[in-house]
């Protein structure tokens, strides 16, 4: 197991713990790439706060900046760290206790 998987997942969960950052990610997911100014027009968050959150999201690898019009940075969603965090949740979501109890019942019933 590579140690950086855990670090990436932790950054994703830290990023998602904040409602403003969730709103920014949701806006990029639903509306596509956008500048901090675009996002400020759509969300009840100041442009300065959005810029700060975007910087953190970029460090976590959840958004990536690209040159937009008039030298403004346009941000797009990056799914790779999210896919990695999904694996952590997948391990928690995998239920073996239910099926194994079902197997026991099945064998006892058909005895």
């Amino acid at each position: 197991m590579a140690p950086d998987i855990e670090a990436v997942a932790e950054q994703v969960f830290t990023a998602l713990a904040d409602p403003s950052r969730r709103a920014i990610l949701a806006a990029l997911a639903s509306g596509g790439p956008a500048t901090a100014t675009d996002l400020a027009g759509r969300l009840p968050i100041t442009r300065q706060a959005i810029a700060k959150h975007l910087a953190l999201l970029a460090v976590a690898g959840l958004v990536t900046g690209e040159q937009g019009e008039r030298r403004r940075v346009r941000y797009r969603l990056r799914s790779a760290p999210m896919q990695l965090a999904q694996q952590f949740m997948a391990a928690l979501a995998r239920d073996w206790d239910g099926p194994l109890a079902g197997l026991k019942d099945h064998l006892d019933r058909s005895a």
Binding site: I5, A9, A55, G65, A93, W96, H106, L107
Partner: protein, 143 residues
């Protein structure tokens, strides 16, 4: 945080390994206790499918068949898109215990990297971001 790569369970069953083996490796058995309906081609590389009435279908690939001791298969991580290549490996081991069976199930592979290129891509992204940060700062300060 502790990223779990491995899930392990052991149960004692009051039935002989041959009977447990049938429940684990036949369409009839799997469709009773695991899914609501199942198909299986029981040989390494064979395909199996588990279906649930609530609308879920899971594609399984049989990997290891050592009757009546070891049955292994791979399947997708839960809740991921169908074209996602990541799979976990599940192995059932049956040990006779008196007249019954000790059954253990081990599932591994939750902490695998999504793709080989991931690390490189991530690193190059972080380096690239150092440049972007300068532009961001200029933008915020100049605005």
């Amino acid at each position: 945080m502790g990223f779990p790569d491995r899930i392990e369970r052991t149960i004692e069953l009051a039935h002989p390994p041959s009977k447990v083996w049938a429940a684990l490796t036949t369409a009839e058995g799997l469709g009773e206790w695991f899914g609501d309906e199942a198909t299986i081609d029981l040989r390494p590389g064979g395909a199996a499918q588990l279906r649930w009435d609530r609308g879920l279908t899971v594609e399984v690939r049989v990997e290891l068949v050592e009757e009546p001791t070891v049955f292994g298969f791979t399947w997708q991580l839960p809740n991921l898109p169908e074209d996602d290549p990541r799979r976990t490996y599940v192995e059932f081991t049956l040990e006779p215990r008196g007249t019954g069976t000790r059954l253990s199930v081990v599932e591994t592979g939750f902490a695998q990297l999504p793709q080989d290129a991931y690390r490189d891509e991530y690193d190059s992204h972080v380096r690239g971001w150092a440049r972007e940060l300068g532009e961001l700062a200029a933008y915020v300060n100049g605005a």
